[in-house]
Amino acid sequence: MAHLTKTYPIKARDYLKAGEVSMEIHGLMKKIGFDSDLIRRVSICAYEAEMNVVMHGGDGVLNVEIGSESINLNVKDSGPGIEDIGLAMQEGFSTATEEARQMGFGAGMGLPNIKKNSDRLEIISDKGMGTEVRVGFTV
């Protein structure tokens, strides 16, 4: 099966570049010619996961696997990790700093949005061990 894998680094707290990785994935999927609704769903999830690394995580990488049957995002960072994943998944829950809120982030809708727009979601994290977010889509 045709398969395209790409890995992008993400820098924590780099608000200037934040969002660029998801924009690239968006562009790549458009070039391939996926259905626009699928593109939008993948882009939103990539964007939210990328922003979470920038805002809450440590330096990390986003890995994307684009296939004709499925698309998988794997976003991994070496930050503080998430203590209570159930709580983090709740709409409106956020530990965003004042700085991030002033820039319009931190509504606590990121993870719920990923859940809503993906077909599969798995979060592997604990306090002090970094965070890995795996998001899957069926084409």
């Binding site: 395209l4 391939i32 004709s68």
Partner: protein, 420 residues
């Protein structure tokens, strides 16, 4: 849009004048130009007629085809409707009424657009208001005014075609109404005249000859401001001559600056963005679903708005100062009756029969597999390239070159810095 239509352009490169430098290729925001073997620049991709290449070419080899340079001779009688950008071109000491007087001396029939800009703004306000409570309304709406942005959306962001507001642009409303009045009063027979738009824009011609949404344009041609600037200037009234009081208002005079279209709307969440690179970034984000809180985007391909158009004469920042200064001397209020405009809106006056717009093609599964394989190939080629974007290969950057090689349109050997 058919293949034929999309390859039809009114921005053209004169092969005899082109020396094969890479300035236009580098400046092209949609990466549509190639200079194979550094011989001659060619438009190969999705040109949106923005005219950036016209600005940067030091040899005058890139031109916008307008009615003046068109091989088709204009009709015997020219009805002129001028973009308000014209008022920004003669410096801050020349008043709109003086420019109007000069226009009347230069052309047989001349009409000012103020009234139609006001009407358009009322229609736009009503449409946005209706959109707020419309079930399943598209958000955000996008201004239909800039023909470059319309084409950019059709080629690169087709999912956003539905966001473009369906209201007729002021230039089209004006042309339709002028024609209606001429016919009603039996002034000229229809084969004898045409309505021509004096414009700062290199894409006006394609929007008239090959409109994206309209069945046919109500305009018959476009003339660059730079084509008629000298004639108008020569006809400006002298200091002791009295000029008519202009019927214009500050909104119309400021319409050509970025933000001019939305300036009269006070409640609501609107944003004006200018310049093609920024416009592309915003469209990308809109397509990603990131701007659902904004109701209306005014996009202009030219930096600072239409006053920065490629067919202008004055520097865009001087033009901006002129407009800001002059518009303060005019009334701010619209000069039309709101109720009357509202009635016209209800009767459908601001809408027109639309043709089936550009079609979004669905890609088959086999096509997807093929496209993924192509991307894999491109990534592989790209990893052997230096990433210097030198342009020596004749493509604007390494990614475009990798795409060209993958598609068989360039040879890998053309890269002189390739890592082996």
């Amino acid at each position: 849009m058919s293949q034929e239509a999309s390859s039809l352009h009114y921005v053209q490169i004169d092969e005899k004048r082109c020396v094969g430098c890479v300035l236009c290729m580098k400046a092209c925001p949609t990466k549509a130009i190639r200079v194979r073997d550094l011989k001659v620049a060619q438009i190969v991709g999705t040109c949106v007629d923005c005219g950036e290449c016209i600005r940067v070419c030091p040899h005058g080899a890139v031109r916008a085809i307008t009615t003046r340079s068109d091989y088709l001779a204009p009709a015997p009688h020219m009805i002129i409707s001028a973009s308000p950008v014209l008022y920004s071109q003669f410096g801050q000491d020349v008043m709109p009424e003086e420019i109007q007087a000069a226009m009347h001396r230069t052309f047989e029939y001349v009409f000012d657009q103020t009234y139609f800009l006001d009407l358009y703004n009322v229609a736009l306000e009503i449409y946005i208001k209706e959109n707020r409570c419309r079930e399943g309304a598209v958000k955000p709406l996008i201004s239909p005014v800039c023909p470059v942005v319309n084409r950019l959306i059709a080629y690169r962001f087709p999912a956003l075609l539905k966001n473009i507001s369906p209201i007729l642009t002021p230039r089209e409303i004006a042309a339709r109404e002028l024609k209606r009045r001429i016919e009603k009063d039996d002034l000229l027979s229809s084969s004898d005249y045409g309505v021509y738009h004096i414009t700062p824009c290199s894409a006006k011609m394609i929007s008239i000859k090959n409109p994206m949404f309209l069945k046919t344009s109500y305009l018959d041609g476009a003339i660059g401001i730079n084509d008629v600037f000298d004639s108008i200037k020569r006809n400006l009234p002298g200091p002791e001559e009295e000029s008519m009081i202009s019927p214009s208002n500050s909104l119309a005079i400021g319409w050509g600056i970025s933000g001019g279209e939305i300036a009269s709307m006070d409640e609501g969440n609107y944003l004006a963005v200018s310049g093609l690179p920024e416009t592309i970034r915003y469209l990308e984000k809109i397509e990603m679903g990131l701007f659902s809180d904004i109701e209306y985007f005014e996009f202009r391909a030219c930096l600072e708005g239409c006053i920065g158009g490629p067919l202008t004469v004055a520097d865009r920042y001087e033009a901006k100062r002129t407009v800001t200064k002059i518009s303060r001397m005019f009334f701010h209020d619209k000069r039309i009756r709101y109720a009357q405009a509202e009635r016209a809106y209800k009767k459908g006056w601001f809408f027109s029969e639309r043709r089936q717009g550009p079609v979004v093609h669905l890609v088959e599964k086999s096509g997807i597999i093929h496209a993924i394989e192509r991307q894999e190939k491109i990534e592989k080629i790209l990893s052997s390239l230096p990433g210097k974007a030198c342009g020596f290969c004749g493509s604007p950057d390494c990614r475009s070159f990798a795409e060209d090689v993958a598609d068989g349109n360039a040879r890998l050997e053309s890269c002189i810095m390739r890592r082996s």
